[in-house]
């Protein structure tokens, strides 16, 4: 019953991991810091164009309704108003927004005829100031004819008639239903001694960056060209689709990236805001800025994450050997799709976790409801899978009386099994999961905490220790977006997801790197600088970084799916090879030595084995720029030093026709072990952290300090998902907490005093230097570990954790119920 080993393409790695590095692996301070921390960043709202007007959006108070009429006359009459657009008017000039689902769910930047969620745009005003635009919105009179509202994901499965959001897709709100079986699931379940079954609920939460989405658009009537300044990320990947919506040829749209004040995935595309700003600018005949306010962002942005109900089964042997999983999942996608069911493609990358499970069946039902659409959010669906499998593992430990650490140790894939093809066909490139577990156990005093736990229980205090051992897939390949789509109509089956950079060396020997994706809260400049410094043995201070707009930019998928460091390392490394080759050639003439006898050494190029016989990079650069013709005849050696390089995804294969094998699509796989120690105040339901250890293996580390920052930030993000965050829709589809005063985040007061971070480095055999991604990990490992810790704390009461978030109210309710049932 073992699966055939799949085809694994040969590694294209050129830079092997090294024992000693010049710049990589150093905790260098971020080169972005000075600009950002002194307030010198240019964010979406900092863009100001001559003669610019401002937009505000009137949003639907109804979750589902027909738009009967819109009277905008009073708004248009308000002094300072330039124009007011309804959805019908916008649709005359602008097509539907980009959408990767198949078949598409038609969505306009302003709703046409019907609204499908609270907060959907109904009309937009352009005025001399945002104040006037907001005032004018209040003067627009809209008559609605309410329709039945669907907010419950199980009800959505059976709703028909007027409750159907997109009748053109059929008389159902089920957008996609598909079961895929990988491996011998039936046989494995038949061979099992025990099947653990849990119903698990992962709530809708989302990325809530400080800065909302914004765009400033200008339409040049003379050239017929749009320029849109926006805090979008994928502008050099799929940005041209916004031109399609605006009904101009893609070369007549230039997207200029701004700094992004955080994203967490939510600014991956920002298609609606860009399309809206472009539409309004063309109508107004002036540049128009539109920046979401917080309510706009939370009711109608791209921020909402997975919203899933699982009926999950894990088949085991009595000795704890994990055999197989059956997952039946309903996902509430809200009113539209942005990336199709890509979040479930993503989850298939690591659905069986770090364990040697050989088969899995996934039954996916994606439903449409009257809520904001889902977008991308840190983890992109895989974080939910981690929660599900870890809850099953903990339940199995409970059932079999096994220790959660030993249970994991027994089932973790051993380090000699890599590269490892997991049941869906994805590859785990490398790993040493036991080393990560051991490192974490070495950092936490488990025995000491168990003693303190026992003592505390005598005093009526509830301390708990949890553990999670989770995968962090990184470096997505585009197949994840469409692999679940119907075989007959898979949509746009793109396979490329490259990244590129260009590098110039100026006449003084300093370097300038141009990235083709924006700054959106991480450290792209620092990563690029460290890799280029490594390749050219340059002082990092001699390298600066900028960002290309879409006119000048080329092939870039942008940050997302924890891919950027790996991908720009590949691109920088490739570009640097071209630079190196040219500098060596110039230097060889200057030093009258063969290029193969030369080496880069700390700011110079010199003859190997001959100390002092060298030229500085500045001397070589000056020669290359200004004195080329002084050099001996060298065919095709041109003046200047520059290079552009496109780095394709390091290792991808295509899904099989029948999808019984999804191919290799998310293969650069890190691993983590989180061990939180919590105390639950059983009287209030509040959870406090007493200790927290997080060990990650992200392969070769480019910058341990910034990686640790990612781990800590992601862990706090995961604490939010576990304990506080939830977009709460009531039965009428009203989003009740579309403000940061009610959508609760963990603050410094709710987070551990110190999240103690450890690292293990298992280099990838497929990426340059063996780097793996690390951007999402914290949020992918914290929720199951925290759930386990709380369950452990409340073991005397018999409380079981099957859903998140565990707000004080929710947890106190569970404790009260357990106490009433005679727990404790």
């Amino acid at each position: 019953m073992t699966r055939e080993r799949h085809y694994i393409p040969e590694s294209r790695q050129r830079e092997k991991p090294k024992s000693k590095y010049f710049a990589i692996g150093h905790s260098m301070k971020r080169v972005e810091d000075t600009r950002l921390l002194t307030g010198s960043g240019t964010y979406a709202d900092d863009v100001s164009l001559p003669n610019m007007a401002h937009a505000a959006v009137l949003r639907s108070p109804h979750a589902h309704a027909r738009i009967v009429s819109i009277d905008k006359s009073k708004a248009e009459a308000l002094p300072g108003v330039i124009c007011v657009m309804t959805g019908a008017e916008a649709a005359e000039v602008t097509g539907p927004c980009a959408d990767f689902s198949s078949p598409p769910t038609t969505q306009h930047c302003i709703a046409v005829d019907k609204v499908r969620h609270v907060g959907e745009a109904v009309a937009a005003v352009v005025a001399e100031s945002r104040y006037i635009a907001e005032d004018a919105c209040e003067l627009i009179e809209v008559e609605y004819d309410p329709l039945p509202v669907v907010v419950d994901l199980e009800e959505a499965v059976t709703s028909t008639g007027d409750a159907v959001l997109h009748p053109e897709r059929g008389d159902t709100n089920v957008a996609l239903q598909r079961t895929i079986t990988f491996g011998a699931v039936d046989e494995d379940f038949a061979a099992a001694d025990l099947v653990i079954e849990r119903r698990l609920r992962w709530p809708r939460s989302g990325g809530t960056p400080i800065e909302t989405v914004g765009a400033t658009a200008h339409y040049d009537r003379g050239t017929g060209k749009f320029t849109i300044h926006a805090n979008t990320s994928m502008y050099n990947y799929v940005g041209w689709l916004i031109a399609v919506s605006l009904k101009v040829d893609p070369h007549r749209l230039n997207i200029v990236p701004t700094d992004a004040g955080g994203s967490f995935g939510s600014k991956l595309f920002c298609h609606k805001v860009c399309t809206l700003a472009g539409t309004l600018a063309r109508a107004a005949g002036r540049p128009v800025k539109y920046l979401e306010d917080r309510i706009d962002n939370m009711t109608s942005g791209d921020a909402h994450g997975s919203d899933r109900l699982y009926d999950a089964q894990l088949a085991l042997k009595r000795d704890g050997t994990m055999l197989s999983m059956r997952l039946k999942v309903i996902d509430d996608y809200g009113a539209y799709f942005q990336y199709g069911v890509g979040q479930h493609g993503n989850a298939m990358a690591q659905v069986t976790g770090p364990y040697g499970i050989t088969s899995v069946e996934v039954d996916l039902t994606a439903v449409l409801t009257n809520k904001c659409q889902q977008g991308a959010y840190r983890g992109f669906g895989s974080e939910v899978g981690n929660f599900v499998i870890e809850r099953l593992v903990d339940a199995a430990c409970e059932e079999l009386g096994l220790d959660p650490v030993e249970m994991r140790r027994k089932n973790l894939i051993p380090k000699d099994a890599f590269p490892y093809i997991m049941p869906t066909g994805n590859m785990y490139d490398s790993g040493d999961y036991h080393a990560v577990l051991d490192e974490a156990l070495g950092m936490i005093d488990l025995e000491g905490w168990r003693k303190k736990q026992a003592e505390a229980r005598k005093e009526g205090r509830y301390i708990g220790i949890g553990i999670s051992t989770c995968q962090e897939r990184s470096v997505f390949s585009a197949t994840e977006f469409w692999m679940w789509n119907p075989n007959e109509t898979p949509g746009f089956t793109l396979s490329s997801s490259p990244e590129s950079v260009s590098v110039n060396i100026d006449p003084t020997g300093k370097a300038f790197i141009t990235l083709n994706a924006p700054f959106w809260g991480n450290s792209p400049e620092t990563m690029a600088v460290q890799v280029l410094a490594e390749k050219l043995e340059m002082d990092p201070a001699d390298i600066s970084v900028g960002y290309a707009d879409s006119d000048k930019g080329f092939n870039s998928s942008g940050p997302g799916g924890s891919r950027f460091t790996v991908m720009i390392a590949g691109a920088v490394s490739g570009a640097a090879d071209v630079i190196r080759e040219k500098m060596l050639r110039v230097a060889s003439h200057m030093l009258e030595a063969d290029p193969s006898d030369l080496e880069f050494r700390a700011g110079s190029i010199g003859v190997q084995g001959v100390p002092g016989k060298e030229k500085t990079l500045a001397e070589v650069a000056l020669h290359a720029h200004y004195f080329r013709l002084d050099l001996p005849e060298d065919h095709d050696l041109t003046s200047g030093i520059d290079a552009a390089y496109v780095y394709d995804h390091p290792v991808t294969t295509m899904p099989s026709e029948d999808r019984s094998d999804l191919g290799i699509f998310y293969p650069i796989v890190g691993h983590m072990c989180h061990i939180p120690v919590v105390e639950v105040d059983v009287e209030t339901g509040k959870v406090d952290f007493l200790d927290y250890v997080a060990v990650h293996d992200c392969g070769t580390m480019v910058n341990p300090m910034t990686l640790a920052g990612h781990v800590r930030g992601g862990t706090v993000n995961g604490i939010g998902s576990a304990l506080y965050e939830h977009f709460h829709y009531d039965e009428s589809g009203q989003l009740q907490n579309a403000l940061l005063s009610d959508y609760l985040h963990p603050t410094l007061m709710e987070t551990p005093v110190d999240i103690r971070v450890g690292h293990v480095e298992t280099p990838s055999p497929f990426t340059e230097y063996g780097i793996k991604g690390g951007g999402e990990g914290g949020r992918m490992g914290a929720p199951p570990a925290i759930a386990a810790a709380i369950e452990d704390a409340l073991k005397p009461l018999g409380v079981k954790v099957d859903s998140l978030p565990l707000t004080p109210k929710v947890l106190r309710g569970m404790i009260r119920e357990a106490e009433a049932n005679g727990g404790g």
Partner: protein
């Protein structure tokens, strides 16, 4: 925000005159509650009369009868005051539990009690410690000051000048705050003075209230155990996303005991 006229008078008389002359004027103290509601267009006014430039409204004085805190005194000043920490440490604890550092550096005691947010902390301090509120016209006893949701006994144009706190023998503050705003989900101030107990709860109802059954039990035996079995009915308590009425009623009991323990702590 809707447009308004901003004033910044330098004297109390000038402030009063400007408020009287306005169609629908409001005084502005720290603005920590008023400005957000105006930003969300939940409230508006014709004139905003900023009291921050008026001398003599801020400050903390210890006198024989107790402690007088000027209306424009910032929460951070109360939190840090040696006089308050020495005489009524529970009041310093209350001030230190409000919002975050920025809020405490900006928000004022006068602003807090005049706004009378159902989840504000100071109302419980005023009522639980039996303070009196001095205005430009009169002195109002704590029991008469808070009259409803965002409502006080203040008349049109009446301005709070200071608050007088008697020094209790013991007092304790316990708060269960909202994670984002630090507003009280439920918070309790309890005090013991001359054998009389006052126990005031904020966050749980339309406005701050005392719990006579708990006060009676504590007057007989000032210990957390004395509160065992005394429940507050959940009828009429606030319900929101973060706490339903039953949870709030439960928290009143929990916070009352913790406040008593805090009062008894050495």
């Amino acid at each position: 925000m809707y447009p308004f006229t901003y004033h910044r008078p330098a004297s109390l008389d000038d402030a009063r005159a400007r408020l009287a002359a306005s169609e629908d004027g409001r005084p502005l103290a720290g603005g920590m509650s008023l400005i957000p509601t105006m930003r969300f267009r939940l409230s508006s006014c014709s004139d905003l009369v900023d009291l921050n430039a008026i001398d003599g409204l801020a400050g903390i004085e210890r006198h024989e009868g107790g402690i007088r805190i000027g209306a424009m005194t910032r929460h951070a000043a109360v939190e840090a005051s040696a006089e308050v920490r020495e005489a009524i440490p529970a009041l310093a604890a209350l001030a230190g539990s409000i919002g975050d550092v920025q809020v405490r550096n900006r928000g004022t005691i006068g602003g807090s009690i005049c706004f009378a947010d159902p989840a504000a902390d100071y109302p419980a301090g005023i009522l639980g410690l039996g303070a009196s509120v001095n205005t430009d016209r009169r002195s109002i006893a704590a029991d008469d000051f808070f009259t409803g949701l965002y409502e006080t006994a203040l008349e049109d144009g009446e301005l709070v000048v200071s608050v007088d706190f008697p020094v209790p023998e013991r007092a304790g503050w316990a708060k269960f705050g909202n994670q984002a705003s630090r507003f009280a989900v439920v918070a309790v101030m309890v005090s013991l003075a001359g054998g009389a107990v006052r126990l005031a709860v904020t966050g749980a109802k339309s406005h701050v209230f005392r719990v006579p059954e708990m006060e009676a039990a504590l007057a007989a035996d000032f210990s957390a155990e004395a509160l065992e079995g005394i429940a507050v009915a959940s009828e009429g308590l606030n319900e929101d996303l973060h706490a339903d009425a039953a949870y709030r009623a439960h928290l009143v009991g929990v916070m009352a005991k913790r406040a008593v323990r805090a009062a008894l702590a050495p």
